[in-house]
Symmetry: C2
Subunit: 176 residues, 2 copies
């Protein structure tokens, strides 16, 4: 694989925020030429498949970047020094009030490897029981549940416009 | 859904590159408070499912942001004023030398809606024939094909660490 490698030759941090750090770097290509690479660094996120009594649980949330309210699986950013498994148990409780016996990691994926290192871990939560939602202050979302028999129609409807949520629904359909 | 909406109150462009524009904005939350939102704008991308003689086609490509060589479906950024369908036919030819009778859009999804508006269109290419790869100058990638019967094992192996590619493989498995 070495013949595909691009070597970093110049690093320029252009923005260092709370969620992302943006760099406009130069790399050396396999043919020796230089090229610029705009890169967004992000700590990563988790998301979770929660099925209770044959209903899969989603949250509806307004997203500023696409300027749309999206239907998504429960998810959240990984905090500094936090294990993904800890984040996912926390987000399950916060967003839908779910408590579970355990979680299993089924996939982990870069969501936009062309410019970002954000890695998302997808878990399945086992034996989920529903208690009270425990949203953080300034977090606004609505719960929506969909019967597993209706998931193929949901996928086909085009209502799900979020990559991690499509992966999660497909995973349920392939494993049920 | 209005009760979830966040209104833009202040826009600050912090980086305007060739691929992304980064803003550090302020929004008004549904409860009237203000919050900051780091946003990455991107023109979007396409990717494509190409199956020829029961083999699904992938490309291996070094990605600077995650600092890894990834196995991905053929894909590419949408150019200014380019229809996604035009981009996908072009990328199919460039990256794997594929020509097809038509393409169908099967999903479109935000890959990281928490901070980015990048929308990815997934197509299926029909009646693909393979000719010569037509890579752009300074584009480096290797073709890899996997028999459709081996796709479940590929997914389980953890080798596929790219969201759009997991969606594409699961789509093939759900529709074959």
């Amino acid at each position: 694989m070495d013949e595909l490698y691009e070597q970093l030759v110049e690093q320029n941090i252009v923005f260092d925020g709370n969620v992302i750090r943006v760099e406009n770097n130069k790399v050396r290509l396999p043919n020796g030429k230089e090229a610029s690479r705009e890169v967004v660094y992000h700590r990563g996120a988790v998301c979770v498949i929660a099925v209770v009594d044959d209903y899969m649980y989603f949250v509806k949330q307004f997203r500023v970047a696409p300027n749309e309210t999206l239907l998504e699986v429960p998810a959240g950013k990984i905090e500094v020094d936090e294990a993904p498994k800890v984040t996912v148990v926390k987000e399950l409780k916060e967003e839908i009030g779910g408590v579970c016996s355990d979680v299993s990691n089924v996939h982990q994926f870069y969501v936009s490897p062309g410019f970002s290192d954000e890695l998302v871990y997808l878990y399945v939560a086992h034996d989920v029981k529903l208690e009270e939602q425990a949203l953080e202050e300034d977090e606004f979302l609505e719960i929506e549940k969909v019967h597993v028999n209706d998931l193929p129609a949901l996928l086909q409807s085009g209502r799900v416009r979020d990559a991690k949520t499509i992966i999660a629904i497909q995973h349920v359909l392939l494993n049920s």
